[in-house]
Amino acid sequence: MAPTASASVRRTLTLAKALNTGLLEAMKADPKTVIMGEDVGKLGGVFRITDGLQELFGEERVIDTPLAESAIVGTAIGLAMRGFRPVCEIQFDGFVYPAFDQIVSQLAKLHYRSGGRIRLPVTIRIPYGGGIGAVEHHSESPEAYFCHTAGLRVVTCSSPADAHLMIQQAVASDDPVIFLEPKRRYWEKGEVDTTPLADLPADLRTDLGTSRVVRSGQDATLVAYGPMVRTCLDAADVATEEDGRSLEVIDLRSLSPLDLDPVVESTRRTGRLVAVHEAPSNVSLSSEIAARVTEQAFYHLESPVLRVTGFDTPYPPARLEDHYLPDVDRILDAVDRTFGY
């Protein structure tokens, strides 16, 4: 599947292909954009997200790197200081940790340290999350580590349309962005507006930081991101059918900074909030959401904010992951419990 040229049309794409197309647009939009990572060139990445791009843009702009994650991020910083706009691929979530120092101590801080003189428009793409039956270190959800780190933007997409839009916004951003790709949703299809970023209205060009209500409801609110948005939508369907409950579902999209206003607003209306993610609960995004929404919607809560997350264990072997990952049952159980307070 070679990348196709830009055109302002609606197309039905998989999330993976939407990312591929979005990256193609980003490469066209700025000749300083370079893609780098393990196997991103000839192979097009193990998930084919960069498929065809080396053919189009050459080895100087789509760089197959040695196997060294700290160097992928560290050299991207250097390239950015030289005026490039690197898009790094970390092959799987579990392989980002060797690059941790370069991300949290270098990439995240140089703008601040330099009093704003240095800008590091580096995007770090990471396929993340479980549910694909993989071997160890291939199903991690590391977002909490990055969200706790000042100086990084952390975003994730849940649909092909957002994948296409947000990857372009991320690459266009002058801040370092951790771009998390919900790998179990790579093959889900959806309609995508393939208008290149530059041709979109200004508010769409720069709304990388906003969350979005993806389903309206009155009885309780579910907040999720990335791979769990679909699961929450499924849960909302079941809740309507089986319990006659109307659940609102909010897709965070930006994990840091958080755009909690829609969540607070919704929770004030419904009085009940359940936060859902795959990552373990301890010191996680759902902790933060619970803490902040409680502070802002204190008098409106009928129940404490409840959390449905991966358990606080290492990611288990694949044959147990269905037990580990939040699913419709666990989400609806939590919704039930919010009605029990």
């Binding site: 393990e38 196997d39 000839k42 196997l67 291939h138 288990p316 072997p317 147990l320 666990r330």
Partner: protein
Amino acid sequence: MTELVQLLTPDGRRTTSGSGPEAEYQAFVAEVTDDDLVGLLRDMTVVRRLDDEGTALQRQGELSLWASLRGQEAAQVGSGRALEPADMAFPSYREHGVAWCRGVDPLKLFGLFRGTSLGAWDPAEHGFALYAIVVGSQTLHATGYAMGVARDGGEGAVISYFGDGASSEGDVNEAFGWASVFGAPLVFFCQNNQWAISEPYRRQSRVPIYQRARGFGFPSVRVDGNDVLATLAVTRWALRQARSGAGPVLVEALTYRINPHTTADDPSRYRPADELSTWRRRDPIDRLRTHLRARGVLTDELEASIAAEADSTAADLRARCLALPDPPGDALFDHVQVEENNLVAAERAAFVSLRGALL
């Protein structure tokens, strides 16, 4: 090509012990008998058969992934059989042949790729650590373990496997530095199978990888990794060096990954077809077979019996793999820590009460 230790030529002739880089290593296989060679052939044949079974089981949906070692049987069996019981091996994720030599039930490897466990064997029992998927990480564990051996007066040496790709990782180079500075009894064993997924090894280094050791001040050697005898000899030599207190040694075994990186990979996207055919002609099993045929040791009968043994081992393994049960759901809460963790305990309780019926 740079110096390369070879004791069996690709067409199965035994090199003589005269001059050349070989001379030093001949002594280490001087007492290898024809029976021993047949044993190595049997190991390689069985290991290849098991590996094929892994690929087949993955195709049938019984394993979620398989990382094939095809082409690397000699590098793994040659080095694996050089190890003594007291030695400790730290594999990456493709060392099924070494696991075989260390007496690990292949079913436990299949369990990993099936997703029923994350490491079901006892490293201490087999002198074989768990597989390490984070590339290079195991070389530091091996270094620490070897420092421990030196400190507690143990007899064993340690061997750490890693790939050509891994040689770029910071961890591997930190391990080189430490092992050298602390004089750890450690053999770094790099299987240079020419590829790290889609990247050729010249993307990792502009000089042969065995030369890396020079920069850290310890000896290294490049061996023909498709020559099981040379690999056996060189690894024995390296282990003796390590045990002698002289510090680490780096062995680069030049070999080739015949199959895709894993069953999820498609090498047609990046690998020239002729390269594959060249390396097929250097097949490690064929080489030893030709040698033993020429010596008259390997009869049709013996070969058939080895094949039968391989088949029955594989059939047995397949049957046991199909029967491998999924662990009970709440097993996911086991062994998070030695001491009880109140959060995990609470999660387990909630899980059991919600899912109780399902378990």
